[in-house]
């Protein structure tokens, strides 16, 4: 692009910035969480690991390059939980470590005693109302983007029998959270409360971290949270005697629907490129001249005319950084002035 002179942008008047929030609606139905890509609990879109500390859910058999990682599931309980030290316990250290890992990262430590905070079913973090046994749903950055939109989370859990889990359901929503309140800011970012329809807090959602922490209280009254050949187990028995993978399978069997909206911040810089009346009325396009005469002028007194097609943005060292193209050429002659608004999204 031939440029013979440059217009210097006045940073106080010619440049401004804006921010836009773009959202995506993310529906995650229970059909992809269990039962579609194989026989429960060994579906092809569920990845288990030899370390047995969590389970990954994909939206398609994970061996395919088309598959996207959707979320991870894990469980854990605090070492002060009544379940801790129970007879017949399986993988207790891992379950306690998992709880501590999440709480340390998301909540940090208490003041002077330097102990890891516990999840609480309120927004106060006053060490009252601890949630000592938890399911963890760690959503992929692919679907949470910058953060989960506050007030948009809905998780439907089946509370029926093992055979017909969705004969009864419990819908958890972060109904009290919004952009202006209903959340608490802590190490892991803002978190809100997940209420069931009876207005009881059943979990937490960390918006920037993209993590939902569900209390086992949603399933406390059930005797068959899990049914297997050896018999049925309550949710407490599952936390004690089942592996983490087994507990995750049992939860997947009872997830009917998860939905939320994500948020992406789009920052824009707007450059106002001002074209004064006495400039840019000529073109350096080779076709502008014919036999050393300006084509658009018949006599010397005619005013020149040019058509603006492109705007180049240059650095302070006159390096071309970006080019903006007009949808159609814009006529410019000495009788008009133009301000072109160039918007750069990033």
């Amino acid at each position: 692009m031939a440029v013979t002179n440059y217009e210097i942008l006045d940073l106080t008047q010619d440049v401004t910035t804006t921010r836009t929030l773009l959202h995506e609606s993310i529906p995650l139905t229970g059909t992809i969480i269990s039962g579609t890509y194989g026989t429960f609990p060994s579906e092809d879109n569920i990845k288990n690991y030899t370390h047995g500390q969590f389970q990954s859910v994909y939206d398609y058999p994970y061996l395919s390059s088309s598959a996207n990682h959707i979320f991870d599931i894990s469980i854990g309980y605090d070492e002060a939980s009544p379940l801790s030290g129970s007879p017949g316990v399986t993988l207790e250290a891992k379950k306690i470590n998992m709880y501590n890992q999440f709480s340390q990262v998301l909540l940090g430590y208490t003041g002077s005693t330097n102990t890891v905070r516990k999840f609480e079913l309120d927004l106060t973090l006053d060490e009252v109302g601890a949630m000592q046994e938890s399911f963890f749903l760690n959503f992929s950055r692919l679907i949470t983007k910058d953060q989960i939109k506050k007030g948009s989370v809905s998780i439907t859990l089946g509370t029926g029998s093992w055979a017909t889990p969705f004969a009864g359901t419990k819908v958890l929503t972060d109904v009290s959270a919004s952009d202006t309140g209903g959340t608490t800011n802590t190490f892991g970012g803002d978190y809100g409360l997940l209420y069931s329809s009876d207005n009881v807090v059943r979990g937490l959602v960390f918006y920037q971290a993209g993590i939902a922490v569900l209390s086992t209280s949603s399933f406390d009254v059930m005797t068959d949270f899990l049914s297997e050949s050896a018999g049925t187990k309550s949710v407490a028995q599952v936390f004690v005697s089942s592996s983490i993978t087994g507990a995750c399978d049992a939860l997947r069997h009872r997830v009917q629907n998860i939905s939320f909206n994500n948020t992406t911040e789009i920052n824009s810089t707007i450059y106002f490129c001002r074209v004064p009346h006495n400039k840019y009325n000529h073109s350096s396009n080779p076709t502008y001249l014919s036999a050393s005469t300006i084509r658009v002028k018949n006599v010397a007194t005619d005013t020149p005319v040019a058509y603006i097609t492109t705007i180049g943005l240059y650095s302070s060292q006159n390096e071309l950084l970006a080019v903006a193209k007009l949808s159609e050429p814009l006529r410019k002659d000495p009788t008009n002035e133009i301000t072109l608004r160039v918007r750069l999204d990033y």
Binding site: E24, D59, Y60
Partner: protein, 404 residues
């Protein structure tokens, strides 16, 4: 926490140029991209929810369908910032939800221009005279300036030259969306193959890297060594004008027309151009085409050297760095808050002997390096695959690479 400033030799900016290869195979009105087989889904016929030969922009709506497993879709609210999705209306009230739809996809497209410069005609009702109106093939007119611009590289680009006037020729135009090649098609990497009944009857390559597509094979084939078309590397277009017969047999290659000899103007038939067995004829199945090329994609790489010099970076904020069961606060009252300044650091120096604790040695394990901007906002974190031990008398340098 103290911050360290990068020196003038600690940050290097490089450009890494990559050449991603793309390959399309066209057969029976289907396009196969990079030989990727069709994958069926439990909810949708195609797992990636885009037709064969297409690339999905976000690839997040895998195996979804309306109803049982609905699509992820974008939306925003009408705001004063002026941001808009396709379909936004200026008459919408502020706060109106503006939604879009996924998946967004792209693929190559072929356009057969029987006489490229042809124009539609109309009759003046007053005079009864016929006059020319809009172009029949507006894409040809859109490319004329660009073709003449590249005429300095090769005479074959020019619309009108000693090789003829493209406006009067039949042109086979293939459009390649930029998502497949990035900044430009890599000169010298373009190859087009023409298969008839499974046998290769023609190959075009831009061996001169000047945009001319020269027939290079098979050896001794009709038209071998001739230029059959040109490539617009920066714009992603291939124009073929070679009309010589590559086979003496005739087959159906044009919708609504009779059998033709295979030639370069019929290469790629079936690539979203309405050519199929139903529109052309059953013998169309004997034709297949392949296109391969490399794109060009520049990746800016920032390399940062973060130095942890001896005597520095020798303390951890991890609570376990301090020996357990020591009082943090020495004195506190309404007037004073005094921390215990004699707390002991936990000694984790390795001993060479069993049942013997090594002498205290000041050391830390570096697990991550954080990058801050000039206003001390955290803008990036580099996490090491394994923590690196740093002793008091050691100099360490961490090399951080950031692809932009």
């Amino acid at each position: 926490m103290s911050l360290k400033k990068f020196g003038e030799n600690d940050i290097i900016l490089n450009t890494m140029r990559t050449y991603p290869k793309s390959e399309f195979f066209i057969f029976d009105s289907n396009i196969y991209y990079n030989d990727k087989p069709s994958q069926s889904g439990a909810f949708s016929a195609q797992a990636d929810n885009v037709p064969s030969g297409h690339i999905s922009l976000h690839e997040i709506n895998t195996d979804r369908a309306d109803g049982t497993n609905p699509f992820i879709y974008p939306f925003t609210y009408k705001q004063s910032s002026g941001f808009a999705l396709s379909g936004s209306k200026t008459t919408d009230a502020y706060g109106t939800v503006i939604s879009g739809s996924y998946p967004l996809s792209a693929s190559i497209t072929r356009e057969f221009m029987a006489t490229a410069g042809q124009r539609n005609t109309a009759t003046n009702p007053d005079t009864g005279l016929t006059f020319q109106t809009t172009p029949v093939y507006p894409h040809f007119y859109a490319l004329k300036n660009r073709l003449n611009f590249y005429g300095a590289i090769s005479e074959h680009y020019k619309v009108s030259s000693s090789y003829g006037d493209k406006a009067n020729q039949t042109i086979n135009l293939t459009s390649i969306p930029s998502i497949f090649y990035g900044q430009k098609i890599n000169p010298g990497s373009v190859r087009l193959d023409w298969y008839f009944t499974g046998s290769l009857i023609g190959t075009l390559e831009d061996t001169k890297q000047n945009g001319e597509l020269i027939q290079t094979g098979p050896v001794g084939s009709t038209g071998s060594g001739s230029v059959a078309g040109v490539v617009l590397y920066n714009e992603g277009f291939i124009l073929l004008t070679g009309s010589w017969a590559l086979s003496s047999q005739t087959i159906s290659l044009e919708a609504g027309a009779g059998p033709k000899n295979p030639s370069w103007i019929y290469w790629g038939a079936g690539a979203h151009d309405n050519v199929s067995t139903s529109t052309a004829g059953a013998s169309y199945l004997t034709a297949s085409s392949r296109l391969s090329f490399e794109g060009t994609n520049d990746i800016q790489v920032m390399t940062m050297f973060a130095h942890a010099r001896r005597g520095e970076v020798n303390y951890s904020n991890n609570p376990t760095y301090i020996e357990y069961n020591q009082s943090l606060v020495e004195q506190t009252s309404s007037q004073i808050y005094l921390e215990n300044n004699s707390r002991r650091i936990y000694n984790f120096a390795s001993s060479s002997y069993t049942d013997y604790s090594a002498s205290f040695e000041r050391q830390v394990y570096v697990s991550r390096v954080a990058i801050y901007d000039d206003k001390q906002n955290l803008i990036g974190v580099a996490t090491l695959s394994n923590p690196v031990r740093k002793k008091e008398d050691e100099d360490l340098t961490f090399k951080l690479k950031l692809d932009i």
